[in-house]
């Protein structure tokens, strides 16, 4: 009997407790908690984690970087400001929150959109997913737990993003027609369905932070 774990939300599928063995589940079976496909599950092996850690060589690639902050792009400025607005909101600084929001929209309006299609997005999302591992190693090397936390969430939410885009590509507009789309406002987790999960499967916030997209 084997056990499998959803790499997105941690849900455990235990062959011993289910009627159908994991192996025999259909290919379009999805995680009941977060909607991740079967392919994002991994087998749970007892005591194998320590060995895996020890086998890992330090292969992280760290670039040389300049000390000076380079010139920031408009979108970078816009999103740094909207992040600071969120921070001010948490500190109950209402006026500052609004001022940062104004700055953020101003810089967003300066940015031009760019030609491209769904295939380009899929390529970029795929390359993001492949890069998270290296980032994680860099953050481990500098022992930055905050940065590790953000890649942990970002990689999960980005994996789900890919699942959603792939499903849309395969099933077409029927996949999202007559269904609601939700985004977790804390970690970016996307959910397609009538009601959002009670807590976000990625960052565990309660569902009132998971917002419907209209």
């Amino acid at each position: 009997m084997r056990k499998y774990r959803c790499t997105i939300c941690g849900y455990i599928y235990d062959d011993a407790k289910e009627k159908v063995k994991f192996e025999d589940l259909p290919d379009d079976w999805k995680c009941p908690l977060c909607g991740a496909p079967k392919s994002l599950f991994e087998e749970v092996k007892d005591n194998d984690t320590s060995k895996k850690e020890a086998d890992k060589k330090d292969t992280s690639y760290v670039e040389e970087v300049d000390d000076d902050l380079r010139e920031l792009s408009n979108y970078e400025i816009s999103l740094i400001c909207s992040n600071l607005a969120r921070g001010c909101e948490k500190q109950y600084l209402e006026e500052e929150t609004n001022l940062f929001r104004e700055l953020s929209s101003h810089y967003e309006s300066l940015e031009k959109s760019k030609e491209g299609n769904l295939e380009d997005i899929i390529d970029m999302v795929t390359s993001d997913i492949n890069n998270f591992g290296n980032s994680m190693e860099v953050f481990s090397k500098y022992d930055d737990r905050g940065a590790k936390r953000v890649v942990n969430w970002a990689s999960k939410s980005t994996n789900i993003m890919k699942v959603v885009i792939d499903a849309y590509k395969e099933k077409g507009i029927d996949y999202i027609k007559n269904t609601k789309i939700w985004v977790c406002d804390i970690c970016g987790f996307i959910y397609i369905g009538d009601n959002p999960p009670k807590v976000c499967p990625v960052c565990r916030v309660p569902s009132f932070k998971i917002l419907e997209v209209c």
Binding site: E96, K114, M124, V138, V183
Partner: protein, 166 residues
């Protein structure tokens, strides 16, 4: 005058049910205030109100926030790399929304943009922009000055309101 306490009580008016245990326990009367907010000049930071509030509507806020953790430049550059890829995706998705004529499809693209934005904001928070009162934020704001008069007004307001803490 006596020195101010390190912390002061702040009431979240959206959560407060106005049923007033905090009024009974406050030794200085700071919680009973015509504005509905706690008088932070009177508050001595004892925390009794926060401890008694049945709705968890009161937070004890520091008058000065602690220093923000300094981030290694390699960590920052890595976080920016992750963010920049997502920024390029937002640019393309915006264009895709403009060119699409299907509302459901637009909704999906909007969701992807929203998700990317949330993730990027989080990446930037970890890249040294956690606290608005940090030197890092102060430098950032100053670097934006001098390009647009209206924007300068906003930035100057922020610079005067946000006292640098480190």
């Amino acid at each position: 005058m006596k020195e101010k306490s390190e912390r002061y009580a702040y009431r979240d008016l959206k959560i407060c049910t106005k049923d007033c245990l905090c009024l009974f326990v406050c030794p200085t009367g700071a919680t009973d205030n015509e504005t509905g907010q706690i008088d932070f000049d009177k508050c001595i930071g004892c925390g009794s109100c926060a401890a008694s509030c049945p709705s968890k509507a009161i937070s004890m806020l520091p008058r000065v926030y602690p220093k923000q953790k300094v981030k290694d430049k390699h960590v920052i550059s890595e976080l920016f790399k992750l963010a920049d890829s997502k920024i390029e995706q937002i640019k393309i998705l915006k264009n895709m929304i403009n060119e699409s004529s299907n509302d459901d499809e637009k909704r999906l693209y909007k969701a992807l943009i929203h998700s990317n934005k949330v993730i990027i904001e989080d990446l930037f928070r970890e890249a040294g922009f956690m606290l608005s009162q940090s030197t890092n934020t102060n430098k950032f704001l100053k670097s934006l000055l001098g390009k647009d008069k209206e924007i300068d007004t906003i930035i100057n307001k922020l610079l005067s309101k946000l006292v640098v803490n480190d």
